[in-house]
């Protein structure tokens, strides 16, 4: 039995049936991390003690012959933007390098309550801002399929850990594509649920109206299993929806025959890599053969998505990141003589270049005299983008698009060109803006791997 390759159900059954133990599984994953992660850089912090305690609990349940909870003994990794009580949580930033939260993220708490074993905290772009994981204040993550390439971002560590068999499943966060794009770059499944489906409590906010927590896994069934566990109303998050959680795992066995699949020409235009186009078109052909009805749909405001996204996201970020001021926790500059100097230097020294760039963009967009022209207008365009999808979903059940215009690019290739980097999100930001769910499912390989994105109507 290859312990590192087990799916959720296989792992849980193996422990339940005493073919292995949760402890052995955890040790096997830590051995794998020990061996592989120095080259990849997916983990920032290992939570060995917490993992072994949980594994022990699960093993005792199994020994007593009691039924294990749905994720009993399943080793998972958590993107380091989700707070874990008593465990360092950095958001990939120097400003939180030594921050130990007093509280748990609801999604993490729900995973653990369902028996999952948290192996550690995963590297990411600083405050989830980036598309290559090169913006981590600690070190970049490398793509396990080709170490010269980026794993995507910002949940690069979450995608790489799954791809390199260093966790069964992981949690990531998606604000403009940060789950789906790295999933596609690393050849794993990444799901961004509908806005409000999963509580954001304990997720270090980047852009509150766009932030989502979701799973990355090797297959859709594990993805469904994790979503079933973390979804649902949380009294600690006013924006979490009070909508019943269906049994996603049961739902995925339904045949696709008869589904109406939308194809939007706006997602197949200039800038789309030919190999990627081919892979996605082939996938759509396969769906047609399985009995799906492929229907053209129009999403006319797509071209405005990137500027709209970078105004809304940076505006909210400029406010969300104001709390990192050196007063109560996190990095504080030494020897500042005045309050203003303490603020200025703590934030200047604590934040990386991309984070500062976005704080400045967002501050500008909200400033007196510019608010109407930028923030307010962006909110109006956002409403139009949402209407585009409302219209399309009156005709189809899902829309299939590429996740990213290209496959994984080289480390350093776009690091000094923020605009080129921003365009890597061109096919993903629309779903975040509209609040609809999206899943990236591997559907081919270029030299390396490749991506397709499914967008579906809410819930």
């Amino acid at each position: 039995m290859e312990l590192n390759l087990l799916t959720i159900d296989a792992a849980r059954s193996a422990i339940q049936e005493r073919k292995t133990t949760s402890m052995a599984l955890v040790e096997s994953f830590y051995a794998r991390i020990q061996k592989e992660d120095s080259a990849i850089g997916a983990y920032l912090t290992l939570t060995r003690e917490r993992a072994l305690e949980q594994a022990d609990r699960i093993d005792r349940l199994a020994a007593e012959g009691k039924p294990l909870p749905p994720l009993g003994g399943v080793p998972v990794g958590i993107k380091d933007v989700m707070c874990t009580r008593g465990v360092r949580t950095t958001a990939g930033s120097k400003i939180l390098e030594n921050f130990i939260p007093p509280h748990d993220c609801t999604a993490v708490a729900r995973l653990e309550a369902a028996g999952a074993v948290v192996l550690g905290k995963l590297n990411c772009d600083e405050f989830a801002m980036g598309s290559s994981n090169e913006n981590s204040a600690f070190h970049p993550v490398r793509n396990p399929r080709d170490l010269s390439r980026v794993p995507g971002g910002s949940s690069g560590g979450s995608a790489a850990a799954v791809a390199a068999d260093m966790a069964v499943v992981t949690l990531g966060s998606d604000t403009g594509g940060s789950i789906r794009q790295p999933a596609s770059f690393c050849g794993v499944v990444g799901l961004m649920p509908t806005y409000g489906r999963v509580s954001r409590y304990g997720l270090i906010a980047f852009a509150s109206s766009l932030d989502h927590i979701g799973p990355l896994a090797k297959n859709v069934k594990d993805t469904a299993s994790v979503l079933r566990t973390i979804a649902g109303r949380d009294p600690m998050d006013s924006t979490s929806a009070d909508v019943p959680v269906p049994d996603y795992v049961a739902e995925i066995d339904k045949p696709v025959s008869g589904l109406k699949i939308g194809m939007a020409e706006e997602y197949f235009g200039d800038g789309l890599d030919a190999e990627v186009r081919k892979a996605v078109e082939d996938a759509i052909q396969s769906l047609a053969k399985l009995g799906c009805d492929v229907v053209p749909v129009s999403l006319p405001h797509t071209e405005y998505a990137i500027p709209t996204y970078y105004i809304v996201a940076t505006a909210e970020a400029s406010s969300n990141l104001a709390r990192f001021d050196g007063v109560r926790y996190g990095y504080r500059a030494k020897n500042a003589r005045t309050l203003a100097e303490m603020y200025r230097r703590s934030r200047d020294e604590g934040f990386g270049a991309e984070v500062k760039r976005r704080i400045m963009l967002g501050t500008y967009a909200l400033s007196a005299g510019y608010y109407d022209a930028y923030y307010l207008k962006a909110q109006k365009v956002r409403a139009l983008l949402t209407q585009d999808f409302d219209g399309a979903f009156r005709k189809v059940d899902a829309i299939v698009t590429p996740t990213s215009p290209t496959a994984a690019f080289q480390l350093g290739e776009k690091a000094n060109d923020p605009l080129a980097m921003y365009l890597a999100d061109i096919y993903t930001v629309t779903a975040d803006l509209a609040g609809i769910p999206g899943i990236s499912i591997p559907c081919g390989q270029t030299r390396e791997k490749l991506p397709a994105d499914w967008l579906a109507d809410s819930w």
């Binding site: 409590y201 406010s319 990141l321 104001a322 007063v327 926790y329 007196a368």
Partner: protein, 491 residues
Amino acid sequence: MVTTPESSVAARAKYEPVIGLEVHVQLLTETKIFCSCSTRFGAPPNTNVCPVCLGMPGVLPVLNRRAVEFAVLAAMALNCRIHETSIFARKNYFYPDLPKGYQISQYDKPLAEFGWIELKQNIGKKIGITRIHLEEDAGKSLHEGFADATEKTAIDLNRTGVPLIEIVSEPDISTPEEAYEYLTLLKEIILYTGVSDCNMEEGSLRCDANISVRPRGQKEFGTKTEIKNVNSFRFVREALEYEIGRQIEVVESGGKITQETRLYNANEGKTYGMRSKEQAHDYRYFPEPDLLPLVVDEKWKAEIAKQLPELPEARRARLVKDYGITAYDAGVLTFSKELADQFEAAAQAAKNPKRVANLVQGELMGRLKSRNLEIGDSPITMQGVAMSADLVESGAISGKMLKDLYDLSFERGKDFGAVYEEEGRPVQSSDTSTLEKIINDLIAANPKQVEQYRAGKKTMIGFFVGQVMKASKGQANPQVVNELLVRKLEG
């Protein structure tokens, strides 16, 4: 005393002040507005805190329904229109006692608008209330009272997240006296609703004043200054008085008013401009994405309305009607809800409620007024009044004795009951043998008056009653005296 700059009376008459007030009121909820921490005042620093009000990474606000209900109650009591949908917004600024780097407030879609308070001194004049919105309080920066206070500032975040309403008036206020009255009435109404204790010492009511002057008849407003955080209504009045004089003097001497925030120094009776750097704020308001729009629908509004108590205006009218007292006295009795409650409780417990009202009006008010006392400082409580009313009602003491006992209460600063005990529970005399002796002596000593009475001048009886009362030191029962006198004189 207020010291105002030398602006001549003539100069003053040429200008009209324009005043608007912003009042922050802490709501008396058990827990904070966005988390479940206690709001109790006076707890050790940083003990009423949790990850949410500390602004830890990743935490989210959850709105306290009770805070909304209290805000709606206050808005209803102040005649506001409650908006079905209002929006929370972030007010962004950096300050060490503001953990998130923004305050959650309301901006362009407040909870309530278009209210008013009617003044009494200037009968019929209404001061408009522009808006009432909900927001969270910030923490406190402490500069003294701990070990290395000379070098450091300490932060206490217990107050962070205590619910506040901000009540913004229209610039309808024309004098410092009107400002004082507006604040007094506002506080009275809020106290009646019970949503705040309005305790200025503990900061549960805070007031900022916007003030400008313009030549009488001019439509456009002059440049305003804002006077911040004045900690009593009297100081607001004094600060405004000073600031009006200062502004007129600046304008009269050809200068320009700088738009700025000024602080009032109560010891000197003067306002001082704060550094201009402090006010170059751009708060970058935008809708709070962590909270849904606040919806107070008709059903909820109706439930809240049921909790609205009888307000001062309505109660005054009822007191006039039920107890037959004057509108003025009803106003005094409703000065606070507590006093009005005490009065009504005392009156209802007494044998004759109207007599209690009559005594308050006839005996208590005048004594307070002549001594320049507020009703809250009265030595005689409402229970004391009720007790005295019952003693008169039962015939145990006479009206004259009551007056004397009231005087003694005021002299000694003691309640009626205590003085009544000290005087040995005096009773009016109905002992006919003692009275008969007094009357026989009187008749013998005043033959001329007896003659007049017997000749038909029946009013002469008053003279005799007076003399008997005097001789008995007011303790004779007037009715018994009257009967005895008639019998003796006629006989």
